[in-house]
């Protein structure tokens, strides 16, 4: 006969970690379900790995979803060449520790033409080194599904994003023509050349990500924790000044400040925040009282109204 069990009986007393609260458990279950469904339905899935906190959670969930097996698809890192040094070190450590298949791709055209955020401006730079590079890598791998860590709460144009987000053969996203998505029944049927972006973290919020990182003891890049670091103030953003390629402009001074990052991207385009939060507890506490959104530190969102939507239509993740 059907029977129900109280929640407490489900916890193995031999485990040292306390069980996840029902909220995080529900989000985790949903994400694992999506991972398994995509892995089963598509021929060549890949997981976009950006090394940030959301990617770290995504990686952890993928390991959980396929346990005791290996993750049955490679990780793809679009390396613009302008990531924080600590991000690349962290990436390589994760690949070694968890025995991951990593594909790292840099746009050869961008590298040859020496496209940099300083010389080409953030919009063109992002278009070439991220969007175009991503399209190249997806085409080269003939991937028919790509996991991403995007969340619907991140940005207005993401709020209507599906969990399976359909893309045309040239990787375009048509917000007017998305497939309806009912229950947790996902439509993975595509023609040759078409693909799907799958977002297991769609229903997670920034606080959920941090609480999950804490509960599951997930390793993240140390830049998320406050520390005294060299910075320079530019266009209202605090830029990390450790890379020799960053040339100081007239009037700019490099100084040491206690800072941390809420999001990680390319260092010249990612602003730090002044913060003393050097533990997960502090970060979560800071977040709960935060009055600005995490994308506030991202230069690319501020180019123009509807900026993210435009990038997405063109194939940006």
């Amino acid at each position: 006969m059907p029977h129900t069990l109280p929640e407490t009986e489900l916890h193995n007393p031999q485990s040292t970690k306390p069980p996840l609260d029902p909220h995080l458990k529900a989000l985790e279950n949903e994400a694992i379900h999506i991972f398994r469904e995509v892995a089963a339905e598509f021929e060549r899935p890949v997981m976009l790995y950006s090394i940030g906190k959301d990617s770290s959670v995504l990686l952890h969930l993928a390991r959980k979803a396929f346990y005791p097996g290996r993750i049955p698809f490679p990780l793809l890192h679009i390396d613009t060449g302008w990531k924080f040094r600590e991000m690349i070190a962290f990436r390589d450590e994760m690949v070694a520790r968890y025995d991951l298949d990593l594909v790292a791709h840099t746009n050869p055209r961008g590298a040859a033409e020496n496209v940099t955020p300083f010389t080409h401006g953030s919009a063109l730079y992002t278009d070439i080194m991220k969007t175009e590079a991503l399209r190249q890598a997806l085409d080269a791998g003939q991937y028919d599904a790509a996991f991403g860590g995007a969340r619907r709460d991140e940005e207005a144009s993401r709020a209507k994003e599906r969990i399976y987000s359909f893309r045309t053969p040239d990787h375009r996203w048509d917000p007017r023509n998305q497939r309806p998505e009912l229950w947790n029944v996902y439509n993975g049927m595509i023609r040759k050349g078409e693909s799907v972006r799958a977002f297991p973290l769609s229903n997670w919020t920034e606080v959920d990500i941090w609480r999950y990182i804490q509960a599951e003891e997930i390793p993240i890049v140390p830049l998320y924790f406050a520390e005294k670091r060299p910075v320079v103030e530019r266009d209202g953003m605090l830029i990390l000044a450790e890379d020799p390629r960053l040339e100081l402009l007239p009037g700019e001074v490099k100084r040491e400040e206690v800072i941390r990052f809420r999001t990680l991207g390319c260092f010249p385009l990612t602003g730090a925040i002044r913060s003393e939060a050097d533990t997960l507890d502090d970060i979560i506490a800071e977040l709960e009282t935060a009055t600005v959104s995490e994308r506030q530190g991202r230069a690319i969102d501020r180019d123009q109204a509807g900026s993210m939507e435009k990038k997405k239509r063109e194939g940006y993740f």
Binding site: M1, P2, H3, T4, L5, E9, L10, N12, S15, D21, P22, H23, A26, L27, E28, N29, I32, H33, R36, E37, A40, R63, K64, A65, F66, Y67, P68, G69, R152, D153, A156, S157, R158, A159, K160, Q178, R179, P180, E181, L182, W183, N184, V185, N187, M189, I190, N203, T205, V207, R211, I284, E288, T289, T291, V292, R295, Q296, A305, G306, E309
Partner: protein, 498 residues
């Protein structure tokens, strides 16, 4: 904003709702509540959702600033940003000034977190509402206090009910514009209760609200409406129940088979009903083979039980043939298997649903060919089912499903996962319908032709009993019940028994 005064006043109330406390550590001891909001722009729906986000501090300063930049200073008369802009995320919509799709919003109080499916109120967008309602635990229906219930209110309530929602909140908005008219509120909520009851929904809370002024949304509106002593909207949402398929039979739709090495073979999927523990006997459908559960494997630990909603890997005690699309179920409470089922569905695409066309049907992880025969279409205005041979976009219809291979379902009423499906057009690969199983069709060859009905001649008391059952309600157009005397019934049965 009446916030500070209202917050103090709220302290002595039973349902206290304050926005996120600055110092409180968040502990979520409930699952997120998923809700859908139904109403038109005119009812102030965007303002209501904007207000919920604003008063729970889900809107950050930079977002608000970019709002003010985008809207060239357009503000409401309380100096707050234009909430509709906060919600209309896509440029195409901003240009047209309408909401064209389902958007999901997130906010939280110190007690619970919420996922809102925000769907447009236009008639032609039934599909969006059905999409949003498919995962919702509760529906908030919005009416303008000056206008009262509209035809669309009935329409929204009907769709929500059809999609399995059994908790309604009626937000009687713009109550400030009626001068907080209690009689008006009472009248609207009474009418709505009758409407909900006619749809079989008993859990109804009506709340007088001013979304613009923030009264009875997150903060209470006692200062303006001393006559109302019920909960605020957020108070109701914090206490609402989430749906659970824990009390029905165990179901595990198999997503994939995990074989990392020779020694391990596990079946991965999300428990879609009931619970399971090592030692349980299970049946694998459609093959009908039987096995026992030896282990429930997860990344963290070997668990001693799993319940509906858990993503698990199941290990069985013997070599059985199990593949993706199979369902592992409790042996003493099995789902229905068969080649013919009855269902209700919502047509989602301009092509509609064409009779006799072979579609792909996906339910859980199972995908198979199906032929769809429309039977009738719901007239949302009156609630009547009219005969139909095909279903245009946005139609809600009853259909017969005919499969080539065994299909496995529960009724949607019993299980919102194993009773739900989508139809995929093989020509376009698009999702063309969302459907809900109502019953298995008996394979009585000849009796179930499209025009004829089964005639049951029963003693009057038995006939009345049968007609009062819920199961029968969904089959009413298939069966004609004739009341006869007990003596005559005996004669009929004798004749059949030969």
């Amino acid at each position: 904003m009446t916030a500070p005064a209202a917050a103090n006043a709220a302290l002595d109330q039973t349902v206290v709702s304050l926005p996120v406390q600055e110092t409180a550590r968040v502990v979520r001891d409930t699952r997120p509540l998923r809700l859908i909001t139904c109403g038109s722009v005119d009812d102030g729906k965007s303002t209501l959702i904007g207000r919920l986000l604003w008063d729970t501090k889900a809107v950050k300063e930079d977002q608000a600033a970019s709002l003010q930049r985008d809207s060239s200073g357009k503000q409401n008369d309380l100096g707050l940003p234009d909430f509709a802009l906060l919600l209309d995320g896509l440029q195409a919509e901003r240009e047209q000034g309408i909401t064209i799709d389902v958007a999901y919003r997130y906010f939280a109080t110190d007690k619970r977190s919420f996922i809102v499916a925000d769907t447009p109120g236009h008639e032609q967008y039934t599909r969006n509402m059905a999409t949003g309602a498919s995962t919702a635990d509760l529906a908030v229906l919005l009416v303008d206090a000056r206008v009262g219930l509209l035809e669309q209110t009935r329409r929204h309530a009907t769709i929500a009910t059809l999609m399995g929602i059994r908790q309604f909140v009626l937000a009687v908005n713009k109550i400030d514009l009626t001068n907080y008219d209690r009689a008006r509120f009472d009248q609207i909520s009474h009418e709505f209760r009758e409407l909900a009851l006619s749809l079989g929904v008993r859990q109804v809370t009506a709340i007088p609200v001013s979304a613009l002024k923030g009264e009875n949304v997150v903060y209470d509106g006692r200062a303006s409406m001393p006559w109302y002593d019920g909960p605020t909207l957020i108070g109701v949402l914090e206490l609402a129940t989430t749906r659970s398929a824990q009390t029905v039979g165990f179901r595990l739709p198999v997503q994939r088979v995990s074989r990392p090495g020779e020694s391990f073979r596990g079946y991965q999927g999300t428990v879609a009903g009931g619970s399971v523990k090592p030692g349980d006997s299970v049946v694998i459908l459609p093959s009908g083979m039987v096995a026992n559960v030896t282990k429930i494997v997860t990344f963290d630990l070997v668990r001693n039980a799993a319940v509906a909603g858990d993503a698990i890997t199941l290990v069985l005690d013997r070599q059985v043939d199990v593949s993706r699309g199979d369902v592992i179920a409790s042996i003493d409470s099995q789902p229905m298997t068969g080649l013919a089922f009855d269902a209700q569905l919502v047509a989602l695409q301009p092509e509609g649903i064409q009779p006799g066309k072979r579609y792909w049907l996906k339910s859980g992880s199972r995908r198979q060919r199906v032929q769809v025969q429309p039977v009738s279409q719901l007239e949302l205005k009156s609630g009547k089912w009219n005969h139909a041979d095909e279903l245009p976009m946005n139609a809600i219809g009853k259909v017969h499903l005919a499969f080539d291979e065994q299909a496995i379902f529960d009724t949607y009423e019993q299980n919102r996962t194993t009773g739900a499906f989508i139809l995929i057009d093989p020509d376009t690969n698009n999702t063309v319908a969302g459907g809900m199983i109502t019953a298995k069709r008996a394979a009585l060859g000849g009796i179930h032709t499209e025009e004829s009905r089964v005639i049951l001649s029963l003693p009057a008391d038995l006939a009345d009993q049968l007609m009062a059952t819920e199961l029968f309600a969904s089959r009413r157009e298939d069966v004609e019940v004739r009341r006869v005397t007990a003596g005559k019934a005996v004669n009929i049965i004798d004749a059949i028994d030969g």
